[in-house]
Amino acid sequence: MYAFDIERPTTVADAVKLLVASEENQPLSGGQTLIPTLKQRLASPETLISLTGIDEIKGICEDDSGRICIGAATTHAEVASGAGKYPALAALASHIGDPAVRNRGTIGGSLANNDPSACYPAAALGSGAVIVTNSRDIAADDYFQGMFTTALEPGEIITEVKFPVPQKAAYMKFEQPASRFALVGVFVAQYEGGVRVAVTGASEEGVFRWSEAEAALSSDFSASALEGLSLPGDGMISDMHGSGDYRAHLVAVMTRRAVTAAG
């Protein structure tokens, strides 16, 4: 690792002040992505602004419209045990990485990073969540802008994520056994207004909504409604773990399984 300083503010306001003090400053949350990146010298911040000492962005609550609101610095383990009102979300969190990763890694860090194979982006997009930052609210549909790319501006910190709770939902992850990330993961959620299907791990553009499957499931929420639907392998990630065609095939399989699991 290159040398850097660490600051540990206790309020969002102080964190933002420290963050914007230099273009080379960067937030640090659970460090489960950033520390391995720093070890490979793929980042060289001047100062890391730790978010782990800021109590106002930790914890889970429910707002007046019944949404589950999760502070950005809430760990995967805390979501797994504390988001019981949204069981599919709690289940997703409980299968991220391994227990030690879940004790440090946070939802804010995962969404800020937007790894094309990460789990939370599928939940946020599949739920039509709102990503709240220190300066604005961003709809999930506007937030994810391609692999490792988001609507976040430099100096902007995610503070909270608000999830509308669906009638039914499930996340199905086909695990890449070495990394434990999703080789393909599909989040399906049925709301009064329609069904959302969000796919991670597959596309070179990062997490995306499978609109044909959404339309089919909105009129008939059953695995059989998906019969005959498939995605092209073009534009899918193709690597040593699986070809684009294989991933495209897995998307359809995991979507059917998610619908069945959602019941």
Partner: protein, 161 residues
């Protein structure tokens, strides 16, 4: 250089650190507690697992600065002061839960975290919990068996001696 203070194995520990000093480096190099191992550079092997405020974490993937004020338990703090092994350590010993021993500190710390959360885990739950602890020697079987035994469960049904 900034200073960090924490409690390690029940004793106060203070030292000078850099921003980039990992908790594992503070434990091994400043405190000379070399039981906690480093087996990888990618946060995947779990040889470095310690408890921070009662939770299992990879000490190679946490900065020492982040442990300011924390209560840290390493493998050195697990046995009784007179050297008597704790239940999990004793079970690893009895059931041959180690060969080269490199992964063992992390395995024991993860096993203790599991049993604190779930005192009588099933075999599947143990295997699932150890997902982030890699062992290149044992094939895991005797590790799983040792943890079953440490939780007071019958291990005779687990095949392969």
């Amino acid at each position: 250089m900034p200073q960090v203070s924490m409690t390690v194995n029940g004793k106060p520990a203070t030292g000078q650190i850099e921003g980039r000093t990992l908790l594992v480096d503070f434990i091994r190099e400043t405190l000379n507690l070399t039981g906690t191992h480093v087996g990888c550079d990618t946060s995947q092997c779990g040889a470095c697992v310690v408890h921070v405020n009662g939770k299992a974490v990879k000490s190679c993937t946490m900065f020492a600065a982040e442990a300011e004020g924390a209560d840290v338990l390493t493998i050195e703090g697990v046995a009784a002061p007179d050297g008597t092994l704790d239940t999990v350590q004793q079970a690893f010993h009895e059931h041959h839960g180690l060969q080269c021993g490199f992964c063992t500190p992390g395995m024991v710390m993860s096993a203790k975290a599991l049993l604190a959360e779930n005192p009588t885990p099933t075999e599947a739950e143990i295997r699932d919990y150890l997902e982030g602890n890699i062992c290149r020697c044992t094939g895991y079987h005797n590790i799983v068996k040792a943890i079953m035994a440490a939780s007071g469960q019958d291990v005779s049904k687990i095949a392969a001696e």
